[in-house]
Symmetry: C2
Subunit: 136 residues, 2 copies
DNA sequence: GAGGTTATCGCAACTGCCCGCAATAGTGGC
DNA sequence: GCCACTATTGCGGGCAGTTGCGATAACCTC
């Protein structure tokens, strides 16, 4: 089933704007921002409003085609849901970013499930702290 | 040594605005927002600008008197640094918030230190996911 | 293919927060 | 106390989103 069919089956519509956001996400680098996507679309279709890009990223996220993560700034990072999940370590001093395997985070997820019945999404927010160099 | 002396020793100044932010933090509930602090100050001193409150929260944080955490919205939560550190579980569906002991998070912090030399601050961002009721 | 329903759009205004700048006011030295 | 120095302030404007609203256009039915 195509994305368009999936959407229609859920009472949503496949608009040109939606298609452009999906295309931009395929072209974009690993962790892209809404602003980047908006800019790349508006280069060819300047009439498309940034708020439409934001709303469509959220709509595609609800359908499970897209996810987002937060590093240590105020910018949300978007990626296709079919890319490999992973965690992030972000240094609050030098700003360095390191990707880590989900297996490192799994024991905590398991414990939160067992002790609190909480199904944690530990890839959603980066782990903030001090990297090896800055911790000294 | 008082906060004022500590500040002066570091070349900073104890302004009335700074004092008002500290007082408001003492009066405020556990996890307060800059907007709440600003509003409570401006009730008596309407000439004090919100940006001054933001800047002073950051200044007090650099000195170690204040910290902040992020739950699942775009609002930063501030608290005095002398309050007991703890983690948060936030349900992205129903919005419920649960506080958890740092001891639950410590094994992960230890592992990140050992394997990546990274000194993680696991209280900084809430763990997002689905609570017992919403996970089903 | 035309028509009616309504999801989605563009736009304008708003949010929490951040920043440059000129004016103000704490500060240490006298 | 007064002065000179400069950290900090109020203000205006910017950034990353979010939201309400009336206009548009995708969809389903015929
Ligand atoms: Mn933060
Ligand atoms: Mn999020
Ligand atoms: Zn990554
Ligand atoms: Zn819940």
């Amino acid at each position: 089933m195509t994305v368009a069919d999936d959407m229609r089956a859920k009472g949503m519509r496949m608009t040109v704007q939606r298609r452009l956001v999906l295309d931009a996400l395929r072209r974009a680098r690993h962790h892209t921002t809404a602003e980047e996507i908006s800019r790349s679309i508006r280069a060819s279709y300047p009439q498309i409003d940034p708020s439409t890009v934001y709303r469509n990223l959220e709509a595609l996220e609800r359908l499970g085609y897209v996810t987002h993560t937060h590093l240590d700034d105020r910018v949300t990072r978007w990626r296709r849901a079919d890319s490999r999940p992973h965690g992030h370590l972000v240094c609050r001093k030098c700003g360095s970013e390191e990707e880590i395997a989900m297996s490192v985070l799994e024991p905590l997820a398991k414990r939160l499930k067992g002790e609190h019945g909480f199904r944690a999404d530990l890839a959603h927010s980066a782990v903030v702290g001090l990297c090896r160099e800055c911790a000294g």
